[in-house]
């Protein structure tokens, strides 16, 4: 299964995310999930960024919050809305929202 996860919370239920397995797992950080790509709480990046190598963050939501693509963790790829649509239609068979 190729599974895309849209993550819109900053404090997320990591148990749910931690138990998800997929042949290909992608995490798309949107809304308040964008803080996970930029803010290092107590100097540490979010453990969610270790979950997969397919990490994306929505630039529009970053910039709405006063963050920028320049501050994004190097493991996360900044993407636009149209990129997200392409990811959903081309790269993943199933999409869930956490």
């Amino acid at each position: 299964m190729k599974l895309g996860v849209l993550l819109s919370d900053h404090k997320t239920d990591s148990d749910v995310l931690g138990r998800l397995t997929a042949e290909k797992l992608g995490i798309i950080l949107v809304g308040n999930g964008t803080y996970l790509a930029t803010i290092k709480e107590n100097g540490k990046a979010s453990p969610i960024l270790d979950k997969t190598s397919n990490l994306y963050v929505l630039v529009e939501d970053l910039e709405s919050r006063g963050l920028s693509a320049a501050n994004v963790d190097s493991r996360v790829k900044p993407v636009t809305y149209s990129d997200v649509v392409d990811l959903i239609f081309n790269d993943y068979e199933k999409i869930i929202w956490l």
């Binding site: 900053h10 308040n32 290092k40 529009e60 006063g66 963050l67």
Partner: protein
């Protein structure tokens, strides 16, 4: 004659819910309540940002550009323009690795003369103990 002290404590992130926006609009609106009170009565609001709430204070929020909505940054400036006492928890700012120059600490660009204060949590705790009404958002 009485002064009623109000504390608006913002602990929520901006945008996903209306919570932090409501805190700011309520705090700002409290400045106008004087017209409904008896002579000599008034309210004294304090706006405090703690925990995730400090992220409402980040500069360069572009919510207007992308979503056509007023940014929390603009609300934060409006609160300073109206001389609200604004306190931001230093420990939480440090926890997120933020610096003071990344935060809305003044509203000089729109004519404000009041500055926000970066304070230890103990000072915000003191405010919470002193006020008549405590509201968390």
């Amino acid at each position: 004659m009485a002064i009623t002290k109000l504390a608006f404590i913002v602990r929520s992130l901006p945008y996903k819910t209306e919570a932090s926006r409501l805190a700011l609009t309520h705090a700002i609106a409290s400045q106008t309540v004087e017209i409904y009170l008896e002579d000599g009565d008034n309210v004294e609001p304090v706006l405090c940002y703690i925990g995730d709430g400090v992220l409402n204070c980040l500069k360069n929020q572009q919510a207007g550009k992308h979503y056509g909505i007023t940014s929390l940054e603009q609300h934060a400036k409006n609160s300073l323009l109206l001389d609200l006492k604004v306190m931001i928890c230093k420990e939480d700012v440090d926890k997120f690795g933020l610096k003071e120059d990344q935060l809305v600490m003044d509203a000089e660009d729109i004519g404000g003369e009041t500055n926000a204060q970066l304070v230890p949590y103990s000072e915000i705790q003191k405010v919470m103990e002193e006020v008549d009404h405590l509201q968390f958002f």
